[in-house]
Symmetry: D2
Subunit: 355 residues, 4 copies
């Protein structure tokens, strides 16, 4: 363990890709909060697979069933549990993987950790499918944050070496939520789609970066030294499968700059303290400063590719080759966009409740 | 809160830059562990300021006083507390900062969080000085990990746009621990020092990247989804002041690659499962795979610079300018190298105890 | 929150008495553990209502459905979730309770905590029914502890002022598990049943004490100061509805004794350290000493009685009277016996994993 | 571990009876809270030994030194650490205990847990002396609660079989704080003192019960199922050395009563909801109901007695006898009274911050 996250709220995620169901329990949500179930459903749809040519053709009935904690769409104050049944699973696709771990996957480390009795089918508990329950929790919390005028947006920052525009307004980001392909610049988006299509045609895959921007955060969220906003966000964002890097504001770029360029000068705007630039991504000393919180998460390319790869047999400890069976996303980044929003919402709400 | 870290061990850090003392309590260390105090002292010296032209000339008597938990240099099994007295503090240097927050610093967010009664002198609890107690904990734990043949090395990966070599052996990294300027390539180091000296001469500062490599880790450390090695390391590394980015293995570079290049093929070496490449940085699905664990942390440039900067007055909410008083490191990256080792050791040991 | 318990394992309980389902998630159980589902079912039956004249005639289909974490009855290492559907609920029985809180119940405090939107039907999340998922977790863990030869027994220590015998062997306690009425002395049990029947006839209820004895515990479990075996057991046992007191070994009686009588002299038996008496209940300084662990939990009488009681209206803040509708146990103590075993198992296993 | 307590605040206690110092770190206290140091000192004096004939003649300079978190007696928002130096230690008194554990003490379980390298002198980390730092934390928090008009009182409920009066007003309890011997009825107190004196003369000791009453608590504190007020109080109260039982309201007595007698009828007083009786001790379903919170903790007799006792040798595993050296309280209950207040304050404040 632990598949639980949070201190002032706690989200516990359970399930394996091919178990009867997956789901989540969310503790700490106040009573009397109306959840717009249609809006939640629309949010979950953004993560759902099979929507277009750029994601896996598998179909998942990802409609959550709420088992408790909500009555007539209103929270009752005690733990909320929702589950999603796993119906469209083809476990036999995975038989070969019992003995031959996929390069880049958790198959091998899952074997080391849990041994012969692990559930490797569909990636088990390591499957990207486990981000669906995270989106149930995050989708509800996005609504609660919305009531406080806290708005969270994500978009594809890059696929491979193709970048989205870095110039945008909140209005631009808002539109991304309704797009089939979540980028600010649709022209760049077309190029990204082309790249994904090419990689797919080659039986290959490609990674990318998701950028998240949060407006409306009060100054003062987060605590030194290990409960800062960066720490809290990092703990959940690195829980999203395939994330290998995370940076705030200028991030790695800041390491190249002189202080005189990277420091954000303070100024007064409409009587309020702001900063002229926002190189710190809205966080100083782990605590929000009232400017937009900005972070970027790097996703590695989907490890499941159609090309033949070198691997080994777990039983005989011999080298072998593997062609990964089944259908897989050539690029998970588009579907990861709402997942990053969900993760951000959960971390922010946890800090928000601490005050 | 929280200035506490860990689940199987717990480190609690306390103190402000100018309070009577700073220190840490470390719970969960088994009884009967001999701590080599000279070795610990040598480790702490690597972080100490005032060693050379590249760090602040302030002198700190950073010798820890152990209050409990250790008897005759052997752990007794119950909480270990060590403190460092703050003696060389010139609080008056900071008077001007009561009302004028330094750009890029936690002065402003500390004010928002704690109000008038915060301790802003020397950065209070946000001071980089608080990494000294982290090094006491980490230095002890490095010794415990060493008994298990787990070896942790850090070096400066870059200062500004000057990179250390990316080709090195464990032997090279070992030598770094004894160097005054912790890089693999001393030639590159000379260039870095030159850059720091130039920035200093300009009254400016510069950031950089620290790379950490861990050898000898058993496969199987870390847990899905939020207690993975990446999550655990992230939570502590983002607790080091000035860290704004973190990546594992290929990290952000992986986002640009096709899966066929980023995946690490499995192979058998001397009867053991290894990977041909190590683009994942030794972690798959949050769990160590037995290859070296590699991560990089991006440090922003020191915000305290001698140049005049724009700021505001907290009392009158008027814009003003500020020349930061006192003596400051033009670049904290060299001193951050052992801190990153300490943080890594603490996170790894926490995972190690979980098994 | 929190409806979660544990540090080395974590059990999260969810559901309301009349929500679609109740259930639990259990994290931290190692992979490869075979669960005997028949044995688990038999354990759950011991808690089930409607078995005899001494408990509520309601029938519950308490068969758990495992959603994940177990495959072919073997644990896979990742979170285990099991749910129980709520089918036999008559919410209309509870309409009157929306405005008139039952004396002795959580109706009023639930209203204060969660307001108008709480789920008061059937007691909501406060219902004794929530001990069913605790028994799923505990029942599984009892099997794991059994493999380590740790045996946990409970019996009714008293109902009202009628005590079970205090002289018994482990063999006697073993037999209790198969009894319809879980006492050591069946003669005393008959008197207890008579008392319950009398209270029931009067439209009243009665409380009692459950005693738990644990054999086979290794010495050394538990940690000072707040993770001792007493602390851990207390945190979970006071989570069982209706528990108002808890004592270990001699407990409250020890407060009357001189040290010379209460101290347990050490002795050597078969080359092993034991104590001549066991007044400390197997725990010294919060840590097990290898002797049987003994505790007693006091259960208040069921607050739901048929007699007319004084209460108030929450809407008008007027005094009124209430006759609690629905069917209720005149005494929950017999059904609480396996719940106490389950709670003890969970706490012990959490300490056991810490080592 | 863990010697840490709390979720919304966290108190970490460190030190051994004879280590250079003992102390505590308290996280989560808001900034800007003025601490009355004289009042705190007076509170600590109530726990101090050597005040009268009824406690050990050892003298301790228990004045805390604040290392951080407080400036000019005002909290700054970040962790507060205070230490107490151990000066008057006579470790040689304990030499014999290295090999011969005292019956009723943690000597043996400490040996099992920590082995040869444990610090057994003075009881090490298990010493009652560790309640001094708990009183520093509790004493500060009592002041913070006082600002919210929450008042916490404790008194000796019984010593051996001599009870204090159970009839008292808040005014009576208030006076107890200033008494040398903390009982409501001084007449009963005289009898208790006589009993203690007799036991002491016999080289023996005696236990007792401390009762705690908390006025002014808002309704709604505590959470189901394992963070209820009973669970929270239990976790800390069982952390006080020598506590073997805990009950709320009617406690164990409730187990004997019919529901019609034990239920607390609701009524309206001055427009507010109250209960006619308070058998539940102010807690229903783990949540405060606005009535006074009442609990009792049973303390076993001091195990260190002058009489010869049977014990064993840890090295040779032979039976032997022991006369415990050193000076010891014949009854720790009077000194435990403020410790119980401190523990209660800490638990209540943790719940209070959760809201």
């Amino acid at each position: 363990m632990s598949s639980s996250y949070g201190k002032n709220i706690r989200m516990t995620i359970f399930g394996q890709s091919h178990s009867p169901a997956i789901g989540m329990t969310l503790e700490g949500i106040p009573a009397g909060k109306k959840i717009d179930m249609e809006k939640l459903s629309a949010f979950l749809d953004r993560r759902a697979p099979g929507k277009n040519a750029f994601s896996t053709p598998r179909k998942e009935a990802d409609a959550p069933e709420f088992l408790c904690g909500i009555k007539d769409d209103v929270t009752v104050g005690t733990p909320i549990t929702a589950i999603i049944r796993n119906t469209n699973t083809r476990s036999s696709d995975y038989d070969i993987l019992k003995n031959i771990p996929r390069p880049g996957h958790a198959d091998y480390t899952g074997y080391i950790k849990y041994g012969e009795d692990r559930d490797f089918t569909g990636g088990g508990h390591f499957s990207g499918r486990l981000t669906a329950p995270m989106c149930i929790a995050g989708g509800m919390i996005l609504q609660l944050l919305g009531e406080q005028n806290i708005r969270i947006y994500s978009h594809i920052r890059s696929i491979g070496d193709i970048n989205d525009t870095s110039e945008y307004t909140e209005e631009d980001l808002k539109k991304v939520k309704d797009k089939e392909f979540p980028v600010v610049s649709d022209a760049r988006g077309e190029k990204m789609k082309e790249l994904i299509a090419n990689r797919k045609a080659e039986g290959d895959s490609v990674g990318g970066i998701v950028e998240c921007v949060i407006y409306g955060l009060p100054a003062g969220l987060g605590d030194p030294m290990f409960d800062g906003m960066e720490n809290k966000l990092a703990q959940i964002v690195f829980g999203i499968p395939a994330v290998k890097g995370l940076e705030f504001g200028n991030g790695f770029e800041a390491a190249k700059l002189p202080g005189s360029e990277n420091n954000d000068a303070f100024c007064i705007k409409d009587g309020k303290v702001e900063t002229v630039t926002n190189n710190c991504g809205g966080i100083l000393g782990g605590i929000t400063n009232g400017m937009p919180l900005i972070f970027r998460a790097a996703f590695k390319p989907t490890p499941s590719i159609a090309k033949e790869q070198k691997s080994i047999r777990l039983d005989t400890k011999e080298e072998t080759t593997l062609i990964v069976p089944g259908r897989h996303d050539p690029c998970i980044v588009p579907r990861a966009v709402p997942v990053v929003e969900a993760a951000a919402a959960i971390a922010v709400y946890d800090a928000y409740l601490e005050g």
